[in-house]
Structures are given as structure tokens and as C-alpha cells.
């Protein structure tokens, strides 16, 4: 048997790189697609969560008797309904989660640790009754001092969120508890030596605000727990297998007794990799004996889910007069929210990743504050640290009068470079994106009076992980593709294209489905830019498995040895000495014969995908600044990124465009505003200002393809890297326009105008 694929390695591809209409497209343009909140079950109750109005408070007691007495209320749950869990780390969307913390995050135990922290939940016959019941639950709080800022939280006298928190990663271990959960350090070479070689050393301190992922669909689920101890859960999530694991753990269930179905998902960006409502809905359903539907309001989404970490980042970079960077050092302080686990570690590892450096030192602090526990958000941790580094690199370029793209090219990480976080890079495309930037018409286009242009590069690792896929061949030769990664932005299309390429059949003959947790083996979530890569790899493997079976069957039919059969262009052909002896058997032919020749064909793969290809991007942006109001307008934007291979280029472009616009929001307007009691003042889309359609121009894209050698078609994964460069690119453009560098995000109109006014006053004096 000699299965040949039509992959990149062989030159031309038939399906990879084409742009068919996505298989789930019609459902999504007609309103037919069912998202988290679109399902109703018979006998269904409505669940609502009572949330702490305090940023930090000890919960003395909870009295739900009045709520339970209200007609229509079926049950109320509190901390008493969940067993406490010991400290145990398991992988989730972002780094690891600790079940001791997860159980406390879904329902406060000893203390409420942020405004919006769940303290009780009710299931009732209607939303109205459920709301009335919430008002009747009496919680006795002892309000405690709170802390929101990362630097304040690190102070020795800061209010402690967890009185037993001893900083990890420090030798010898501290004896006193603090809000610093962990200190991490990454070193390469000797920075003192590196700075000694430098002619210019610049150090700056930056800050970024927490930002929310801002998915348009709020969290929602329906739990249906039956009296026999089995349950089904329907929810909007990036990973239903991960949800199953967490919920089973929190409810003390066997995972086999919990079937989780992922609904269509209305955006996630990392924010739907953890559980909030799901264990609560299951518990309400278990206690009430009825299905329970729970949906967050937008306000709840803002108060209690996400965000990305707010940070303080100090950066110091040394460079020779010729533009060679000799050393980079950084200290990162990241807000974790109410429980440990900020993405400071990847922040440290990514900070200097675009550069080929001999001497690097990055220290990171994971710091607890009275805010919601941070969740992953596109390249978690990287945008904050790379914003700081890319800003300083821009300043260095200005200092020696070198073009910033040239400076980056001179120092760019490439194949063989020892990455600043350790390992040696294989083939990577940073240089290619920089060369494209330099050659791009945008980079040379004249600027209008008063406008500025900025560039910045960005890096993200991308991941693989455990993944299953099944291809079921129908009796007419068409194929059902079952994957376990929820389709958040067109991945069904890219998986079908990879299957079509492998099998050599028309992509229209493959219909995809996202299987529930009982139809497939464990599959890690949609995140880490892994879906097109890892589920793609699984689909390709499943395709090969099916081809092997098909060739065996053809050999049987022809009564020739199986190694005398080859698979090409969607059909089995006799090969070698038998070539031309028999008419080829197409997929449809073999499907028709399946029953008589040995049974149905099912191609399977269960893999742990390794060797994800890192991805680099470079962005170019032009801005205009209204000097009288401080408003920054994005005039033109170009994203250039290495995709490895763009399986469905339209959806790759979409990822690049969407990431860039999220970055524009992060750079210019998005921030959380708290009052002095630690209560969020802008929990809605009115005052949490994500970009609207009229805020942005068209986002040009250039896809660079430096194939990832570990993937059969060269796929890297593209979803996360595009959010990394925008903040620095925009800050660099604003600096170009105003001669003024902004080190604190967002560059909102009041902040920009104040800087302009201060400069005018300074100039006058």
C-alpha cells in the first residue's frame, strides 16, 4: 500500500488554500444555528446567580429560607452544596487550574474575593421568580479592605486575599504570606555583560489595563441531571471535554456519566475555556430534579468573567550604535485576579521572542487582586510584555536614526536562533514578515500632515495537544467528519479541506460535525491556535486510516496484495505490476461494496499533536491625532503574518483582521473603571468601549507561508499572534505623530489630551 497525499510536500494542492463556503455557513446566516441560549427543554427551570456586591468580604452566613419559601422557587444552592477540593493542578485553557480555586471561583466559600463573585444560586420556574428569590437571600458579609492594583497588592501591608498564600519560586521560601503567588525567572546569558557591550541603554516602565475578551454571546448553559446520577449539559464553550472534566470533579461524578455538548459558540477568544455557570447549573438541576438553564447578563459577563491581566512592565534594552541589541531585561507584574494563575509565565517567555539575543533576563510576578480571576485572552500574557519591548525597540531605532523595520531585521529571530526563552527555533517566518513589511506599499506611502506611522512585531508559541477525529464513510461515498474542537471561527471548513486533500475527494462530499463528549475520545479545547493544526492533524491521520482500510478492501476485491494498491485522486488503483489490470475503485464504489466486503469504513485518529509551529507577525499602522480633543484615529492598518500554510485563506485573513481590531480597542479605549469600593462602573458595551464598525478602516492582510514541518500541510495556527503587535504599533505611530511616547494604555482621549496639555505647559515654561 502506498498512500500518497496531495499535500504541500508534493507541490500543488487541490483543496488546501481554496476558499469554499463554510459548511455551517447557511445555518449561521439564517438564524438557524443554535448557540448557548437558543435551546429550551421541557420542564425547564431558570437559574440565576446571587453575586457579591463587595470586592472583598468574609461571608459570615447565608440565609436562603425566605427565598426557598417563595412560590415557584425550586432550590437554592450555596457553598455548602459543593465539596471542598484539595490543591490539584490540571491543564485548562491557560496554564493550569487548581481545583481548590475552581470550586471557590464558581461559588465563594470563606470569602467573596471580587465584586460579582457568586455566593448563591437559585432555580425557579421563571426568570422573574428567580430574580425575586435572589433579593430574598440574606448574606451576612464582613466587608474587608480590598486591593485592585498590582503594585498596591504587592506592598507588605496590602490586604491579603488568601491568608495562607506563600510565594512560590523564591528560595528560601518566604515565611510571611502575601498576594504574590509566584515569582518566575527566565535567563539566557548574562545581562550585565550584555549591557556592558551596549552604547545605548533605554529603560521604561509600562502599564496596561485589564481588558475583556468581549465575545458577543454571554455564557449560557442548560443542565439536565437525572435521578440515576447521569447528566447532560449543553453549553457555549471552547472545550466541552474540559468542561466535562471540571464539572465531574466539582460534582463528584464519573466523567462517563456526564455528556457535554458544545453549542455553537458566539466568540470566546480564551474567555470560554473555564467554567462559571456549568457546575452551578448541574448542581441546581441535581437538587431540583429538573433541567436548569442559566444565562449571564452582559453585566455579569463583565463583572465575573475574563478578563486579560492588567500589568506593570519594566523593560531595559541595550544596543550598540550600529543597531545590534546586546541585552534585554524585563520585570513583569501581572494581575491574576482573585486566584493565582495570571499568564505572566508566557508573558516572560514571549517578551523578547522576536529577537536573537545572547543576554536576556525576565522576572515575572503572579499577583492576586480583588478582581475576577483572569482568563486566557488570545496569546495570553504576550501582548502586555511585547507592547513594552516593542515600544522600547522603536525608541532605540529612533535614537540611532535607523528604520524600525531595519532594526528588527538586524536582530530578528530566525531558524537556528536560540529563542530568548530557551529552545532553538526551527523554521519561523519573522524575517519574511519584516521583508514583506518593508516592501509593502503601505510602508512607503506618504503620510498626511500630522499623521504618524508605527510598526511592531509579535510572537506566539501555538500549541498542539490531545485530539481525536473520526471520518464515517456513508454508503453513498460521502463522509461525516466528527471533530471535538468547537468551531469558533470557521474551523469546520479548514478541517474539511484537510480531509478532502488527504482523501482526494471533493470537499463538498464531507460534512462536519462537532461531536459531544461521548462520541469521541478526549479532545482538548479550541484555543492556543491549535484547532486547524491539531484537529487538522487528527483529521489527516483519520483520513490515512480510512485510506488504509479502503486499500485493503480494494486488494481483497481484486485479490491482489495490499501493497499493490495505491490511493490517488480519491480512488484505489492497482499499482506496480498490476497497474491497469483493474478499473479503479472510487470511494463511492468501495462504500457501496462495504457491507458485502467486510463492513463499514470508519477512519479514526487519536493523537497528542506535538510540534506546533510558532507564529510571528508584523503590523503597520497609520494614525491621526486630534490635537484639541486627544482622539486617535486609525487611518490605515496592515497585518503581515506567517500562517505556515493558510488552509482557508479567508478565515486566516479574518483572524488577522479580528485580532488587529481587538488590539486597536486594547490600545485606545478599553479599560475597566472601578469606584473606590472596588465596584465596576462600566459593566456594559456602552462604556466598555470595544471598537465599532465606524472606528476602523479596512484591515489589509498579507499572509506569509513558511510551512511548519511537523504538520502534513505545514499549518501553524494563526488565531493568537495578531493581537500581540497592535498596542506597540499604535503607540509607536502616536509617537511618530506627536513626538510623545505613551507607556500607559489605553491611549484614550483624556490621557492623550492631558499629555499634550502638559507638553504645551512645559514648552511655555
Amino acid at each position: 500500500m502506498a498512500a500518497t497525499s496531495n499535500g504541500k510536500a508534493n507541490g500543488a494542492t487541490r483543496w488546501i488554500g481554496t476558499r469554499p463556503v463554510r459548511p455551517d455557513g447557511v445555518d449561521k446566516v439564517t438564524g438557524r444555528a443554535r448557540f448557548g441560549a437558543d435551546v429550551h427543554l421541557p420542564n425547564m427551570l431558570v437559574g440565576k446567580v446571587l453575586r457579591s456586591p463587595h470586592a472583598h468580604a468574609r461571608i459570615r452566613s447565608i440565609d436562603a429560607s425566605a427565598a426557598l419559601a417563595l412560590p415557584g422557587v425550586k432550590t437554592v444552592i450555596t457553598r455548602d452544596d459543593f465539596n471542598d477540593l484539595s490543591s490539584e493542578f490540571v491543564p485548562a485553557g491557560e496554564m493550569l487550574v487548581n481545583y481548590r480555586d475552581v470550586v471557590r471561583n464558581v461559588m465563594a466559600r470563606e470569602k467573596a474575593l471580587f465584586e460579582g463573585h457568586p455566593v448563591a444560586a437559585v432555580a425557579a420556574v421563571s426568570e422573574k421568580v428567580a430574580r425575586e428569590a435572589l433579593a430574598l437571600i440574606d448574606v451576612d458579609y464582613e466587608v474587608l479592605p480590598h486591593v485592585l492594583d498590582v503594585v498596591d497588592a504587592m506592598a507588605p501591608d496590602a490586604p491579603l486575599l488568601h491568608e495562607d498564600m506563600i510565594t512560590a519560586g523564591v528560595e528560601p521560601a518566604p515565611t510571611k504570606p502575601s498576594n504574590i503567588a509566584k515569582v518566575v525567572e527566565f535567563k539566557l546569558g548574562d545581562v550585565a555583560e550584555g549591557f556592558a557591550e551596549a552604547d545605548i541603554v533605554i529603560e521604561r516602565e509600562f502599564s496596561t489595563q485589564p481588558v475583556h475578551q468581549g465575545y458577543i454571546e454571554p455564557h449560557s448553559c442548560i443542565a439536565n441531571y437525572s435521578e440515576d446520577g447521569q447528566a447532560e449539559l449543553w453549553c457555549t464553550t471552547q472545550g466541552h471535554f474540559v468542561v466535562r472534566g471540571h464539572c465531574a470533579k466539582l460534582l463528584g461524578m464519573d466523567v462517563s456519566k456526564l455528556r457535554v455538548t458544545a453549542s455553537e459558540i458566539g466568540g470566546g477568544f480564551g474567555g470560554k475555556t473555564v467554567v462559571y455557570l456549568e457546575p452551578v447549573a448541574l448542581m441546581l438541576s441535581r437538587k431540583s430534579g429538573q433541567p436548569v438553564k442559566m444565562t449571564m447578563s452582559r453585566e455579569e459577563v463583565f463583572r465575573a468573567s475574563g478578563p486579560a491581566a492588567g500589568t506593570r512592565v519594566w523593560v531595559k534594552i541595550g544596543m550598540t550604535n550600529e543597531g545590534r541589541i546586546t541585552a534585554g531585561e524585563a520585570v513583569l507584574k501581572y494581575q491574576a485576579g482573585a486566584f493565582q494563575g495570571s499568564p505572566v509565565q508566557p508573558g516572560c517567555m514571549c517578551a523578547f521572542a522576536p529577537y536573537d539575543l545572547d543576554h536576556v533576563k525576565v522576572v515575572g510576578y503572579d499577583v492576586l487582586v480583588n478582581r475576577p480571576k483572569v482568563a486566557a485572552y488570545r496569546a495570553p500574557g504576550a501582548p502586555q510584555s511585547e507592547f513594552a519591548v516593542e515600544s522600547v525597540v522603536d525608541e532605540l531605532a529612533k535614537r540611532i536614526g535607523m528604520d524600525p523595520v531595519e532594526l528588527r531585521l538586524k536582530n530578528a529571530a530566525k531558524q537556528g536562533t536560540k529563542a530568548a526563552y530557551g529552545p532553538t527555533f526551527g523554521p519561523v517566518g519573522l524575517v519574511e514578515t519584516l521583508e514583506e513589511a518593508k516592501a509593502h506599499e503601505h510602508y512607503r506611502a506618504p503620510l498626511k500632515q500630522g499623521q504618524g506611522r508605527g510598526v511592531a512585531s509579535g510572537f506566539w508559541f501555538n500549541i498542539g495537544g490531545e485530539t481525536c477525529a473520526t471520518l464515517n464513510l456513508g454508503e453513498d461515498g460521502t463522509i461525516a467528519l466528527v471533530a471535538g474542537t468547537p468551531d469558533i471561527g470557521g474551523s469546520r471548513a479548514s478541517l474539511c479541506l484537510q480531509a478532502a486533500e488527504t482523501l482526494g475527494v471533493d470537499v463538498e462530499r464531507i460534512r462536519p460535525l462537532i461531536g459531544d463528549t461521548s462520541t469521541l475520545g478526549y479532545t482538548f479545547l479550541t484555543g492556543g491556535s491549535r484547532t486547524a493544526f491539531a484537529s487538522g492533524m487528527a483529521v489527516v491521520e483519520a483520513g490515512k486510516d480510512m485510506i488504509r482500510q479502503l486499500c485493503e478492501r480494494a486488494a481483497k476485491v481484486w485479490d491482489i496484495p495490499v501493497d499493490a494498491v495505491e490511493w490517488a485522486d480519491g480512488e484505489a488503483r492497482p499499482a506496480g505490476s498490476n497497474a491497469g489490470e483493474f478499473d479503479p475503485l472510487s470511494l463511492a464504489d468501495l462504500a457501496r461494496l462495504a457491507g458485502k466486503t467486510g463492513g463499514p469504513f470508519v477512519g479514526r485518529a487519536q493523537i497528542n499533536a506535538q510540534g506546533a509551529g510558532p507564529s510571528f507577525g508584523t503590523h503597520i499602522v497609520d494614525v491621526d491625532v486630534d490635537r484639541e480633543t486627544g482622539r486617535v484615529t486609525i487611518e490605515r492598518y496592515t497585518v503581515i503574518q506567517d500562517a505556515g500554510t493558510a488552509v482557508h485563506p479567508s478565515y486566516v485573513e479574518g483572524q488577522l483582521q479580528g485580532g488587529a481590531v481587538q488590539g486597536i480597542g486594547w490600545a485606545l479605549n478599553e479599560e475597566y473603571i472601578y469606584d473606590d469600593k472596588g465596584r465596576l462602573q462600566n459593566p456594559g458595551f456602552l462604556d466598555y468601549r470595544i471598537p465599532v464598525c465606524s472606528d476602523v478602516p479596512m484591515i489589509d492582510t498579507v499572509i506569509v507561508e513558511v510551512p511548519n514541518p511537523t504538520h502534513p500541510y505545514g499549518v501553524r495556527g494563526v488565531g493568537e499572534t495578531p493581537i500581540v503587535p497592535p498596542m506597540a504599533a499604535i503607540a509607536n505611530a502616536v509617537e511618530d505623530a506627536l513626538g510623545m511616547r505613551f507607556m500607559d494604555l489605553p491611549m484614550s482621549p483624556p490621557r492623550v489630551l492631558k499629555a499634550l496639555e502638559d507638553a504645551r505647559i512645559a514648552e511655555a515654561a
Binding site: R19, V21, R22, D24, G25, V26, K28, V29, T30, G31, R32, A33, R34, F35, A37, D38, H40, K128, Q213, G214, Y215, I216, E217, P218, E264, I265, G266, G267, G268, F269, T295, S297, R298, I488, G489, G490, H648, S650, Y651, E653, G654, Q655, Q657, G658, G659, A660, V661, Q662, G684, F685, L686, I690, P691, V692, C693, S694, V696, M698, I699
Partner: protein, 158 residues
Amino acid sequence: MAKAHVTTTVNGDPVEFLCDAEQTLLDVLRDELYLTGSKEGCGSGDCGACSVIVDDRLVCACLMLGVEAEGHSIETIEGMANGDQLHPLQTKFLEHAALQCGVCTPGILVAAKSLLERNPDPTEIEVRYWLAGNLCRCTGYDKIVRAVLDTAQEMRGG
């Protein structure tokens, strides 16, 4: 308080429903009539995911009471295709990959339809401002705007 009886037209069909005075039109569409194509992204008129057309006016169904619909005509995403024929906007959104997660898509399609009915030849800026009340977090709006402009051109016979 007894429920109110409301008589309306939804996607061309006569529809009667009972609702509480507090229920929004969106609540009624989704929870009483099971027309779940209109989405609730915010409940405060800030995201546009529940966009519907009431008597030829584009509105957020979350900012209108169900009882206010009495005697009025409502168009939702479920009525946009004509039988098995997609509306040209729906076709163009698919061709241009103008959706990623798709949750804002029904609202954006309804809003875009309303735009093209009023202005068959909008500029890019006009499209962007008309759609400013429809948040999309996935696409960066680029492909959405292109799809609307392309549809307009096609519908004009260009």
C-alpha cells in the same frame, strides 16, 4: 397582572401571543415564539445582535416591549431568505467569509438589509456608520463591510 394579548405580523404571518408587560420584544421572540435567530448580546441596545425591523424601521428588539408590537409588522432573520432562496446579503456574507463565530451575523444581516432598502448605493463610510450599532468582536468588520458593498453593487445590477 394578567398577561396581555398581542396581535402582530411576524415575517409576513399573522401571529398572536401572550406576554407580561415587562417582557421585551426580544424575550417574546426568543422565549414565546422560539424565534431564536435574534440574539441577546447585551439587553441594553448596545450590541445590535437582536436587530429586527418593525414597520420598516430597524430597531433593537431588546429595547421594545412585547406589548408595543400590537398591530405592527416585525421582520426577523428567520424571514430574510425567501423559501429556499437566500437573500443576496446572506449569499454574499458566505462568499466573503464575513462571519466567524456567527452570533452577531443575524443582527448584522437584518441591519444591512434595512440599509440597502433605503440606500441601494452606500459608500463604505455610510455602511460603517449604519452598522456602528452592531458589534462584531471576531472579524474586525472588514469582510462584513466588503460583503455589504458587494451585495449592494450586485443588487443594483452592477
